[in-house]
């Protein structure tokens, strides 16, 4: 059952990702991206990363993509400009992509142990409680530095936007 569900959501994610690139319409691409985010959230959930799954759904699929869709709807999209593909891109693109995927598969298979739940650093499990505990004990400094960084980014964005208005 787990394997079936994993395959279903992984397939949805891949199909949506491909659709995101193929679609010419910005709204269709944005919706595909939401599909990718949503199905990734369910894949995380199955891998035991419950908190990450919820955060992915609330933050990425919910908040950030709403902003994307909002901006796309607000700015009327112009006609898409097609750039002619270079000759070597047209011929070497597909083989290079295949090579890249094969390389990735090889590395993943070699580096990661086959039968073990995913682990990262001091985090022992994916539930909200342990992530919270670790964030405020083992990773307190990186956590706080990140929040300061985000604050700087917000202030910077406001400063830049202000200049534009004046």
């Amino acid at each position: 059952m787990d394997a079936v569900l994993f395959l279903v959501f992984a397939a949805i994610a891949v199909v949506c990702a491909v659709n995101l690139v193929i679609q010419t319409h910005p709204i269709a691409s944005a919706l595909s991206l939401i599909g990718v985010m949503g199905s990734l959230a369910f894949v995380y959930l199955q891998l035991g990363g419950q908190f990450i799954a919820a955060a992915q759904l609330v933050v990425y699929a919910g908040a950030i993509m709403v902003l994307f869709v909002f901006v796309i709807m607000l700015l009327n999209e112009g006609k898409e400009r097609k750039v002619k593909m270079r000759l070597w891109v047209r011929w070497a693109g597909l083989p290079l992509l295949a090579l890249f995927i094969a390389l990735m598969a090889f590395i993943v298979q070699r580096v990661l142990p086959a039968q073990q739940s995913v682990k990262f650093g001091a985090f022992t499990s994916g539930d909200a409680q342990s992530i919270g505990t670790k964030l405020f004990t083992a990773y307190l400094l990186p956590f706080e530095v990140t929040s300061v960084l985000i604050l700087i980014a917000i202030v910077g964005a406001i400063v830049l936007a202000r200049k534009e208005i004046d």
Partner: protein, 395 residues
Amino acid sequence: MPYIVLSLIKTLIVVLVLMHTLAYLQWVERKVIAHVQLRVGPRRVGPHGLLQPLADVIKLVTKEGMIPSHVNTPFYFLAPFIAVLFALIPMCLIPYGGDINLFGIHTTMQVTDVSIGVLLVLGLSGMGVYGVALAGWASNNKYSLMGGLRSSAQMISYELPMALAIAAPLLMLNTLSFRHMVDAQTGFYFGFLPKWAIFQGPFPQIFSFILFSIAGFAETNRVPFDLPEAENELVAGFHTEYSSMSFAAFFMAEYANMVTVSCVATLLFLGGWQPLWPAEYGSSFLPSLIFLASAVICFLHAARPARPFDRITLPVFGVLFLIIAGVFLIPPVQQILIPLFWFGAKVGGILFVFIWVRATLPRFRYDQLMRFAWTFMFPAALINLFITGLLVAVS
């Protein structure tokens, strides 16, 4: 019994009850607003218009679905699906009562209990905005587009204070699972004051509850925040171009969202299915008493009938109420029904406030709506969260 069969049965019950709730919520809304405005409301179809929801459903299903020629067809069809899907999914995460032990089967009154329940509900119901935004955009109509844009802007703005208002009681209850949340609100102070989050120490969450309710009104696009469908400026907003079942889908999604918000508020702040006062003082007999009183009123009116057929119908309803009052007293059934009664009563109370507010308050202006979110709701929620965090850390 295998897990999947049990889950299917529970899902079926939840779906049936939910669909009837959604249909009759609309009847209740029309009746309540009518009585607030000194009208009688729907009365023609069935006694007191009780069959009106059925008539409405038949009308909507059999109506011709118009597809305007200027719409973006695939997205136009996708939008109501998204709206309904993300309005109904959160319902499977909501617990309605305690454990059930019947015929040797042990289960919980909930379709599925996940450890991150409240986050998942927040995330899934947040996705519902895509349905509204997409409907507005795909209709290719400037009024619809304005509705869709307003909806997404409103959702982004009010999601923040809502999340902050949810975070404050979570600090006290110390869990993300709805079931454990209710368990953390069991018990009474001084033997009578319930330990619900709005009364619980160290910092009673009454402000969080008010902020959550206001944000809930905005998230469900209800009056006074129903700017996406403001009929005096936008025709009907995002669903102007929809008719027949696709219109009904948006309608249903709105009511389902209302029910979800009310359930979450009940579980987070009002102690879920915990009674208002202890069982020692007879809180388990309240439903029986209510139905007994209804039966007595029916019999009294049957003795002095206003219309000839009251002599037959009122005693029938009186006997029916007596039977229901009796059912609430049977011990094994009582264990299941009493929590359900309290949960339903609290959710119903919040839903009534939703309707009441709609009948009372006028609509905000758009700039007022945004200013209210960012200059009052957000700082207030932040301060509330800060005080709660401080007091939880100190105690």
